[in-house]
Structures are given as C-alpha cells and as structure tokens.
Symmetry: C3
Subunit: 163 residues, 3 copies
C-alpha cells in the first residue's frame, strides 16, 4: 500500500505571519561609493537589447515604509540578473537579514522577476532565527524606478508555514 | 519535554502531482541572436579543462514533448555554471514560469547537475500560483547534447507537497 | 471560512537528523591546479574595499572531521560571492553531494554568511536520495582562514523535516 503525499486545500488559506517591507536598490555608477548599495559584477552580453547577462550583487536596505532614508529593519543580501532578450526581465535570489529589536533571523527568497507584470511572486524557501523553518510567498511590486540608478520594490511577504 | 520534528515514511510515497517537461538550451554563439535563448555571462577559468567557472544565463523554452519547436508550455529562467576541474559537472538554479491555459504560476528549482550520472535529482524548493507552496523532486536526464550549442534535458517533476 | 496555515511550536524542537561536517575551500591562485577546488569566476568591483562582487565557484571536499586530507564523505558544489562594501560578508548557495556507503543523495543549501558573527544559519531548502525532501538549518562556524587561499567551515546540519 502506498502513502499519499501531503495535499492541502489552498482555498482561503491565511498566512500565519505577514510582513510588508520595501527594498531599495541604489546601483554603483563608479562614483557614488557613499550611497550605492549594489554593484554590477557581470556585464550584459550581446544577446538582445535588454541587458541579458548583467548580474548585480547587493546589500540593500529594507524599510517598513517606502522612504529610502527611513531606518532599515533588515538588509537584503543577494543578487539579481537580467535574463531575457526581448524585454526586461530578471531573476533574484537573496536573504533578508533582520537585526532589529523586533526580529532577528533571516528569510531566504528566490524567484523570477517578471517585470512586465504588475505583481509577481517569489518563493520564501526557508528561514532562520525568529523565522525558523518558515516558508511562504513574497509578492513583489515595482514602486519606483529611476533609470538604472535606483528602484524600489514592495515585498508583501506571506508566510504559510511557521514554527 | 521536547517536541519531535516531522518524520515521515518515504516508502511508496506517491507524488500529489507530476509533470514531465523538456528543457531546451540554445546557447548564443555571437551570431545566432534570433534562435539563441541563453548566453555565456562569465567565461571559464583556467582551473582544469572542463569549463569550471563558465556561467550561462537562460530564458529557455520548456515543452511537453521532446521537440524543440513544439509550442512551449513554460519558460525556464535562471542560470547554470560549470563547477568541476576533472570532468563536466554543473549547478542549476531556475524558475519554471508557466503561462498556459492549463497552468499559471511558477516552480523554483535548484540542484547539482551530476552530468556523469544517467539521472540526477534537483530540489523543487517552492512554487507560486497554481503551484502554490509546492515542493518536490525534479529528476533530470540529458536527452541530447550537440556540442556546446544545444542540449535538451528531460525533467520528471514529482511534487510531494501540494496545497 | 478560512483554513489556518501550519503553525507549530519551535520550543525544544529536536532535529530528526543531524550531521556535523567540515567544508574546505582551497582557492585557485593561477598555479595550484592540483590542489585548488575553487576558482574566482568574477572579480571584485570597485565598490568598497571588501571584495564586493567577487564570485567564487567551488567543488569542495566535505569531511567528517576537521582535517583537510581526511577522506571526503561529500562534495560541496556551488558558489559564494562577497556582497558588502563596509566589511567582509558573503552569500552562499550550494549542494552537498553525498556518495559514500553511509549516504547517497544531496542537500540543497542557501543563505547569508554574516562573517562577523561567531555562527550564522543557512537554510537547508531541499534534499534528494537518502535526504529525500529534507529541510532544516545549517549552522556555520569559520574554523580556519589562511588569507584568501584556504578556509574551513564547520557545518552543523540539523534537519527538522525528514521523510
């Protein structure tokens, strides 16, 4: 006899924990050392005109409201790269590192950034510390994009597995 | 008193969902802009003769049968790199992006591509949309490899956690 | 009516499986082809003085005791990169590939390496083979660091989901 794998209903499933956070990416342009929080580590290739191949490594501030200069409650450490030849599209993997009075620990996140969509979902694949063993979904919205120098993402993080 | 962690039997465990899909990688050679779906973003190092360090970024078509030109049911967006000095071996992380009438959503996948083995297993570490919170195993087989220009992987995706 | 997501107590939670392993990274310096097990694929950027942007790809031996030359019980295949402009800090994603009489299969791991902390936690986000569908935490300690050429990490791997 076989054991059936875990199958649950997704209807009306409520998160066991939810955080709305803002990710600010300030790209290094060769001069802005004091302000920049990310840098291009790999240059784009010649496949298409949408930066395919460009890889950016970041240690970006994460805030509880949308203001870049409000006090960060976490850092987002990881990378993204552009991956499409016919439009802008990116792929992300990163860790949210919390070190505030409220939260200590990390959330590990990855997913495709389908930039043409109003919102897109990354997977929260693990957590540590106060987020021990968490899993969930981070729904991403681009809130601001000033050329290549600055962009801001709203992350609506819904955890569905909490310990 | 301690709470024991979740321990389940793996004997005869049946997937709650299964998909067999084909991944086609057509590498950019500097000329084939129209056909190529991936590009070398980082060149190989001089450690060994098996391309260690070469990193390829892709937005590859994924089909339900093995034919490259059959209509894609998903895109595979992510990267792989070669990582061994004594033989060919790679490491993958990517998102399957489904946007068909049948499925909308993503599966996030990562793992070591032990190319010498007939089959190898990647982890499906998360999912979104129709694959909300899914986890499982993707068993990979190389079906075709034409030099460095084209290769095809069969992905036998077995989900064991479904919501 | 809504279904509440899984919420468990983390108090006194015991791992269902535990492994203590040692990761040895021997970086290629252009000459040590015979010994090196990792290589710099991407050079550091000019943002700060802590190698931000440097990306290393590895196929490193993993042993059961701290000696570099003791027989490996696994390989660690993946990459790390430096990501901070004000101090040394890294980000890792890799697969532990087991191929011993005791264990066959893989564990997939990712997380922020907060090098200033005595210990830091990565997420074990999936497993295959003998580690089928496993999840857990890998607590990392730097045990030795000889310049940029060699470092050793102790990995205390605690699995809390076992099948």
């Amino acid at each position: 006899q076989s054991v059936s794998a875990r199958k649950k209903s997704l209807k009306h499933l409520e998160p066991c924990r939810r955080l709305v956070l803002y990710y600010h990416d300030l790209l290094f342009d060769g001069v802005n050392v004091a302000n920049a929080t990310s840098a291009t580590a790999v240059n784009e290739t010649k496949l298409g005109n949408f930066k395919l191949g460009k890889l950016v490594i970041f240690d970006d501030p994460v805030t509880e409201n949308s203001h870049l200069l409000s006090p960060p409650v976490a850092r987002a450490q990881g990378f993204y790269f552009y991956d499409m030849k016919t439009e802008y599209n990116a792929w992300f993997a990163y860790t949210l590192v919390f070190n505030s009075t409220e939260n200590k620990g990390t959330l590990n996140i990855m997913g495709a950034d389908l930039m043409a969509a109003d919102t897109r979902d990354f997977s929260v694949v693990g957590g540590t510390g106060d987020f021990f063993m968490s899993r969930g979904i981070a729904t991403i919205t681009t809130e601001d994009a000033q050329g290549i120098k600055y962009f801001r993402l709203k992350m609506d993080i819904k955890l569905y597995e909490c310990y």
